[in-house]
Structure formats: structure tokens, C-alpha cells
Symmetry: C2
Subunit: 234 residues, 2 copies
DNA sequence: TGACGTTGTATCCCCATGGATATATCGCTG
DNA sequence: CAGCGATATATCCATGGGGATACAACGTCA
């Protein structure tokens, strides 16, 4: 059973929520210069597509300049508002895509001291400072592998000097290199690997080798806990 | 017009995709011990709910032990598979939630050298090493504010010593403190602010003050570019 | 042995989404 | 001034998801 993380990107603007389909609609209008052609290419009905444009404009203001008559019968071009929507959507989707692609390291633990949304969580590898939901006690802390910074243990500044509040040292157990990115696995507890994504350049600069100790740091704001009690949502 | 980032969490397991509604169903079954009561509490029809359980089990294997007859007429309890699904969903949702909450800093630029999925992007604040999609030229680079590490400029190690490949120094222009987290805004170009989320403890340790210079670093794997050409999806 | 509260199905129907179709309307161009 | 290709809008209908309902089957317990 392989579980894949999925998501769907949305932007909520006042009353409407804009999804991928809307953005594809805008793209098609932009590319073909008319809603009619856009509907054709997308295999959608013109009527619904036109309705949707009006619906969105009611909420966010003009996203198109629509002309009828004239040479070629008229046409539709996007406004800057529409382009900003497209860019914002793309940025959001890129971030969500990052979440779905990146591996995460999981550490079960219990909440100790809490201040606001932050708390220290006692785990098998030691204390982790993380974002913890309210009234959570038994938790799992997840750390995104693209948020883990690796340094040479001999030259690592004290955690006090940076805003990297979590710092752990352990032996490298696996190194997988891709075109540009290397995935490094570090053994911290008896069975608690921490993964880090770094550039190949960083990997060679650090002179990574398996079994060699390395220091992994990550920010408290990049570590998130979920709580394990089952009846939290009901 | 305020735009809010939204998302919906899903797990794709072989043939089915499990969404929030399914997880809430599992929670309710777990809490009430029977599918009937769960359906009642959720305001759903028993028939559909039961169908959905079977549907999911066809794909992922047993997620419930369902008994009929016996004292109390029977009942349903979740399997460990179901609990693992719930935990995985929660972890995924926590990460997506992080994306939607966290502010991002945006830098327009053009792609220079590329190696695999990584490329250097020339921006108003200088070169940024980031994850860049294929065949992109004009791009926007986004940096999550929870991935930005702040250090004292005088004591900052050379970027070469760490896997923090992007490093910029500029004056602090805004400091907003919450219960546990402080949001710091740093001026880099003429109109390119970079935001960072750090713990209040880190903020006081760094002795942050407005107009005072600070060094902000972030990993290449935490910077993502989108491309600006409009007809990419069609 | 019957009562009871489950699980297990099958059928009907409501309703929202969205395509299909038809009909105006508009305004430049030949 | 008619033609054309676009926008604008209303109506009908196919489809699917899911609630409502009904009825069996099951197994412990009084």
C-alpha cells in the first residue's frame, strides 16, 4: 500500500473560491483571445464558461475586457487583476507541490513546556522546539526535509547564535544524489532517521560520507506537531 | 480584494483518494463504536457511509473490524491501518496548513545557469539559487518566511560552510511580535522586503531593532520559482 | 426463543453541476 | 447594408453524488 500525498490548490477571494479549473480557463482565454475559442479548446460549454467569468468578476472585479462586434467579431483579453490571480495561484501551487514532494521526518513525543503556539516536545532524539496545536499532549513532530540545514560538527556555531533552535548531531546513513539535489539520511535515535535535502554542491562541499557525523539544524517554525488523540475533530 | 490561500488535503492510496470527509468518518466511527451512530452524528446516511468504508477497504485493505449481532447488536472498531491513515492525513494537513498560513516573499527575476531542477535566478536583490521548473526564463522566486534563518552579520559564517546557499544582509524594517513567534521584515532591494518568522526567544537573543542590519539565509531547496509566461498550461 | 441494535444491500429520488441548444445583440468590414 | 464572429442569456436535459427508505441477516442476552 503506497500512500501519496495530494492536494488541490484554491484561492478564496471574498465570496468565490478559485480553483485550478478557473485558472486554466483564464489561461485559455489569454491564449486564444476569445471565450468562445477557449471553451472549445477546453471542451467546455461556452455558456458555463461565460457564466463563470461573470461570477468571478462579481466577486473580484473585472478580470476581462470583453468586446463584441468589430473586426473578428470581438474578443476577450485578461486584465492585470486576472494575471495577478494567475501568478498568485501558481505561487501557492508551487508551495503546495513542494509539500507533497518533500519527504518528512516524524518523531513521536510528548509536550513539555508551552508558550503560545510553540512548545518543547520530548522525543527519542531529545527535545524539539516546534509549533504545537492547542491542548495537545501526545504528538508527532514532522520536519520537512527541505528545511534541514547541515553543517560540519566541528565548525557549527552554537545554536544560540542563530534562529536555528533545533540542532542534532549523528552519523550519515544514506546519501542519494539526483541531478541537482542530494537526499541525506541521518541517524539520530535508535530508529529515528532525519532526512535533509541539500544541493549537490553543498554535499560535496561538506564532504559527506556515510558513518561520518554531521550536524542537522532546523527552525522551530519549520517543525510542526500534530496530536495523536483520536477524538479531536468530532 | 483580499486573497486567501486555501487547499484541500487528500491522500491517494492505490485507487481511492481519501479526503477530509473520510477522515472525519473514521474519527466518528472510532469515537462512537458503530457506523450507525457515526452516520447519525455526522448527519450522513448510513448506507452511503457504509458503502464508502467498503470502497476504501477494497483499495487499502481492512480499516475496520465490523461485527453484527452480539451484545449491543454489534459494532465497528478501527484497525491500525485506519489509525495510520489518520495520522498520515493529519501530518499532511499540518504541512499544507503551514503553507497557507505562512507569508511568502516574492522576487521577480530571470533564470541564468541551470543544473537539473536548480538554477540561479537574477533578481533585484542579487542571485538566488532556487528550484526552477523546466524551460522557465522569466520567473518569480518565492521564499517561505518560516524557512528564513536570521543571524548577526558580524558572526555569520560564510555561506560556504553551511548548506544555506542564499544569504542576504539588510536593515530590519518591521518587527511584529506574537505570543511565541515574531515576524521580521528585512529590506533588501529598493522595494523587495524579505520576511522571516522566528521565535520570540531568537528575536531577543539577536537583539533585533529596526534599521539595524541583519543577515537572512535560506536554503536553495526552500526557494521555489514559478514561471511567468502565460501559455504554459494550455 | 424472541428482542434488539447492529451490519449489509437494494431502490428511489432530490439536487447541483454542467453540457447542449437556441436566440439576441453588438459593431466593424467588405 | 448584409455578413460575420464574437458576447450575452435563457432553457432543457444528462449525470452523479448522496440522502431516505425499506428489508435481510446476524448473534448475544434475557
Amino acid at each position: 500500500m503506497t500512500i501519496e500525498k495530494e492536494y488541490s490548490t484554491k484561492l478564496a477571494v471574498d465570496e468565490v473560491t478559485i480553483d485550478r479549473r478557473d485558472i486554466e480557463m483564464l489561461d485559455a482565454i489569454d491564449q486564444h483571445g476569445s471565450m468562445h475559442k477557449a471553451a472549445d479548446r477546453l471542451g467546455r460549454s461556452y455558456a458555463r464558461l461565460q457564466n463563470r467569468v461573470v461570477e468571478i468578476e462579481d466577486a473580484v472585479g473585472p478580470i476581462t475586457e470583453r468586446k463584441r462586434g468589430g473586426s473578428g467579431g470581438g474578443g476577450t483579453v485578461l486584465t492585470e487583476t486576472a494575471n495577478e490571480l494567475r501568478r498568485q495561484f501558481d505561487r501557492h501551487e508551487a508551495e503546495l507541490d513542494g509539500v507533497a514532494r518533500v519527504t518528512e521526518s516524524v518523531f513521536p513525543g510528548t509536550v513539555r513546556e508551552r508558550t503560545g503556539e510553540l512548545a518543547t516536545v520530548e522525543t527519542a532524539i531529545g527535545s524539539i522546539l516546534a509549533l504545537v496545536p492547542d491542548d495537545a499532549h501526545a504528538v508527532q513532530v514532522t520536519v520537512r526535509s527541505d528545511a534541514v540545514v547541515l553543517t560540519d560538527p566541528d565548525e557549527t556555531p552554537q545554536a544560540d547564535d542563530t534562529s536555528l533552535r533545533n540542532q542534532f548531531t549523528g552519523p550519515v546513513t544514506a546519501i542519494e544524489s539526483g541531478d541537482a539535489i542530494t537526499r541525506v539520511t541521518i541517524q539520530l535515535g535508535t530508529d529515528s532517521p532525519l532526512q535533509a535535502l541539500i544541493t549537490n554542491a553543498s554535499a560535496t562541499r561538506l564532504g559527506l560520507e556515510t558513518d561520518q557525523p554531521i550536524t542537522a539544524s532546523f527552525k522551530a517554525t519549520a517543525a510542526r506537531a500534530i496530536h495523536l488523540e483520536s477524538d479531536r475533530r468530532v
